[in-house]
Amino acid sequence: MLRNIEHKKSEYTATRNACKLCSPLGASLAYKGIKACVPIIHGSQGCATYIRRYLISHYREPFDIASSSFSEEAAVFGGQKNLNIAISNIIEQYKPEIIGICTTCLSETIGEDLNMIISDYKAKHASEDLPEIVHSSTPSYQGTHADGFHETVKSLVAGLAKKTEPVDRINLFSGFVSPADLRHLKEIMADFSLNFSMIPDYSESVDNPNWSEYKRIPDGGTPVSEVIESANAYASVELGYVFNKGYKAGRIKNKSQEVQTAGEYLESKFNVINHQTGLPIGIKETDKFFDILEKLSGNPMPGKYEKERGRLIDAYVDGHKIMFGKKAIIYGEEDLVIGLSKFLAETGIDVVLAVTGGNSGKIKPILANSNQNGQEPMTIGDDMDFEDLADIAKDLGANIMIGNSKGYYIARELKIPLVRVGFPVHDRFGAQRIHHLSYRGTQELFDRIANALMEYKQENSAVGYKYL
């Protein structure tokens, strides 16, 4: 049973402890997944610095993001001069292969024409060997960090992809997941003997080994050539249901303009067949993903994954009594919430509250059918914040919260465990290495959730049981 709640704006106008971040953050991460790319945020100095700080606290890695450092003059007369200086200084300092520019509320509102600015810059520096320069439109008043991420992936492809000779390769658009997830996806592709290009690939660039000397640009990332060749692939696989569709919500300008994902763009423009499936979390969603890979590769699921799947089912069985009937609150980006919800439904856990700061309007219809064996009604709230979550959670008697670290204060108040997943995790170690995807990631999540519930039982028991 699904219990919808009305849009929160009826009660509160302000957002109180947002359950989302702004789109330039997602854009910056996407750009970091392209090899030798330096992002520039076209706006005030603070945007870049805040976003760097936020990302560094999660990934614990250098995260250089430049700014065009708007001054008052730029805000009034336009930021072209500042952006030109920024591009030149980035080229001088970093010698990047590509510069990824994303806009902000400030530069969008004053109507900066980035196509014009970039082609002007290229014309003025025609004699130099310039890096690629791409841009994405990511005003922070539109969508969330997840939208900014996917919009930037789309912009990268739209800005670079060129149809030439077909290549024996698929494009994999993995979504806003952890570096460990990306590494695992690459392993899966290799095990299927699939030639692939993962766009973006920040599995290394935000999780580098220790260095002997400082690297201005960390290793790793999708080569620019592969983004260009994405038009020549025979198929794309895109993980998610929502992507950047939140950009549609609340639109006034460009209302009629359709929001496309990277995969949709390549399909409509270059006939690259697009396979969309949700984040592979849980058995059924992962099966769907593997089905696509079997079809594309012509190979059956490698034995290794048959075994991982089998062990996961074994764990579901071993742990079913720990899980059944427990009430969970989940929150985060829309696609993550959908994935978690589908997975938890397989374990017997009832998701009593699913919250996201996203506003695509897609999450409710998708989740409407997902809590099949639920004993409890499920409340779904989109465009909500943490205080909305806390207000509703008070009366739910939930046993566990699953989401990023920002919900900790509510879990603390409710005296229930929080299993940290997704982004950001600012109060625990190893966020880069959390697996969420595929049978392996699901196994990790399952173990962590089961252990959190067992630990809670043990800690709150009058008897210090040695077996549980």
């Binding site: 509160y12 302000a14 957002t15 109180r16 402890n17 947002a18 989302k20 971040l21 702004c22 330039p24 953050l25 706006g43 005030s44 100095q45 603070g46 945007c47 870049a48 610095t49 805040y50 976003i51 700080r53 936020y54 560094i56 614990r60 250089d64 993001i65 430049a66 700014s67 065009s68 450092s69 708007f70 001054s71 008052e72 730029a74 805000a75 500042n82 952006l83 200086i85 920024a86 030149s88 200084n89 001088e92 300092q93 970093y94 902000t104 509320c105 400030l106 509102t109 004053i110 922070s140 008043y141 220790n210 260095w211 002997s212 000397e213 400082y214 690297k215 609340g250 006034i252 205080e387």
Partner: protein
């Protein structure tokens, strides 16, 4: 020094005997330099953040509020309103049609629900552009709700972080002197520029109370609106983190003739001076005697403990890059006490006077930096062979990635580093950072 962008050359200096110590500073960050600085809004937000019983409402799209949610480790002895992140979360429709209604509604609802003692309303980049009359709305709400509602016009592009400090001080100055509902003794001070990170302010309060000084308002660490409104009743403003709070001290001097002094609470020397100077100000023999006693007691406990750490640190080299230059000065001295020489020192917001002091204090060859970036910092660490980096979250990965120790001396830390107790914590942390066995495995050390 190949890594320095041409337009930044004069913001970097190597100390040489007899050479000029003039450095270019207090200017806007160079586009594309990857400055470690934030913006005007950030400056205002961090200064006002610790006022615990005020509503802090950020008028703008979601990011500015989200990235500053619970950003400082500032503790409160009472309410914790400041630890929330409230924003008008502007959407496209507000950009097109204006955000005034959204702001008014948000404020009224939050004030009704949370009953704050005052409200600070921060304008972000976009607010000036869409033409919202924030001041008028603040006035209206102030009248309706009967609490001070202060606009903080901190559009990010209107200068640098330092300009944000000034805007925050102006907002505070509007509160000062508006109430007379508190008994304040003649021997009382306001503490300006301590933000009660990890409860540091409470330690300082204890020291001051021990020598017979009463604390009137603490601005802004563990700050209360009512105390700030009564701040004009203190006899002296004691200002730490002078970059952020000097403007308020000067305003209060002009308006209420309250003298001020600059102090620092980091390191034994500076901490002790902070007590002596206050005692001297009051020209109180008893106070001075108590200060001497306190310092003697603390140091007799501290020095032997520090000596142990010093043995393991002697001869090491440090790089310092922090927000304010005044803190950097204290850090150079505190590190010296531990036998560590500073080879790089810089700040985001220092002024000429600060940098001159630093240059005078540091050894020959020390590199002094204004508004630096990761490339310069990593190059200089490499060049000088520093063993330890002291900075904030954004500098941490620079140090760790190349395999040297790091200590967080920024506003996010959860360890007290001020006062005598703080000095021991600092020594412990520096010792642990430099002497951890993990450096055996990092390639930089392996090559040696």
């Amino acid at each position: 020094m190949g890594s320095i962008l041409t337009d930044r050359k004069n913001q970097v200096l190597t100390k040489k005997l007899g050479a000029s110590t003039d450095i270019d500073c207090a200017k806007e960050s160079l586009a594309g330099s990857v400055s470690q600085r934030a913006c005007v809004f950030c400056g205002s937000r961090v200064v006002l953040y610790p006022v615990t019983d005020a509503l802090h409402l950020i008028h703008g799209p979601v990011g500015c509020a989200a990235y500053t949610w619970d950003i400082r480790g500032s503790l409160s002895s009472d309410r914790e309103l400041h630890r929330n992140s409230f924003t008008t979360d502007l959407r496209e429709k507000h950009i097109v049609f204006g955000g005034e209604q959204q702001l008014y509604q948000s404020m009224v609802e939050l004030i009704d629900k949370l009953k704050p003692e005052a409200a600070f309303v921060y304008s972000t980049c976009i607010v000036g552009l869409i033409g919202d009359d924030v001041e008028a709305i603040c006035k209206k709400v102030e009248k309706e709700k009967g609490i001070p509602v202060l606009p903080v016009q901190s559009e990010g592009f209107q200068g640098s972080k330092k300009d944000g400090y000034k805007i925050a001080c102006d907002a505070l100055a509007k509160l000062v002197g508006t109430r007379n509902n508190k008994e304040v003794s003649k021997k009382s001070i306001n503490i300006l520029g301590d933000f009660n990170l990890a409860g540091e302010l409470w330690m300082l309060k204890e020291y001051y109370e021990k020598i017979g000084v009463e604390i009137n308002a603490t601005i802004t660490g563990d700050g209360r609106v009512n105390d700030i409104c009564n701040a004009h009743k203190a006899s002296l403003n004691v200002v730490q983190c002078s970059g952020s709070m000097m403007h308020l001290a000067k305003t209060m001097k002009e308006k209420y003739d309250i003298p001020f002094m600059k102090v620092s609470y980091f390191g034994i020397e500076d901490m002790s001076d902070a007590l002596y100077e206050v005692a001297n100000f009051f020209k109180d023999e008893e106070m001075l005697r108590k200060s001497t006693e306190l310092v003697k007691d603390e140091i007799s406990l501290l020095l032997p403990a520090l000596e142990e750490y010093r043995k393991g640190l002697e001869g090491k080299k440090a790089a310092i890059y922090v927000g304010g230059a005044f803190k950097a000065i204290s850090l150079v001295k505190a590190l010296r006490l531990l036998g560590i020489e500073t080879v790089i020192v810089g700040s985001q917001t220092g002024n000429k006077e600060d940098y001159k002091l630093l240059a005078d204090l540091c050894n020959e060859g020390t590199i002094i930096l204004d508004d630096s970036n990761p490339n310069e910092l990593s190059d200089f660490v490499n060049q000088t062979g520093a063993d330890l980096f002291i900075g904030g979250v954004k500098e941490r990965p620079i140090a760790f990635k190349i395999g040297i120790g790091f200590c967080d001396h920024n506003h996010e830390r959860k360890e007290a580093l001020a006062g005598y107790e703080g000095m021991i914590n600092f020594a412990k942390e520096v010792y642990a950072s430099v002497n951890s066995p993990v450096w055996e495995f990092t390639s930089r050390k392996k090559q040696k």
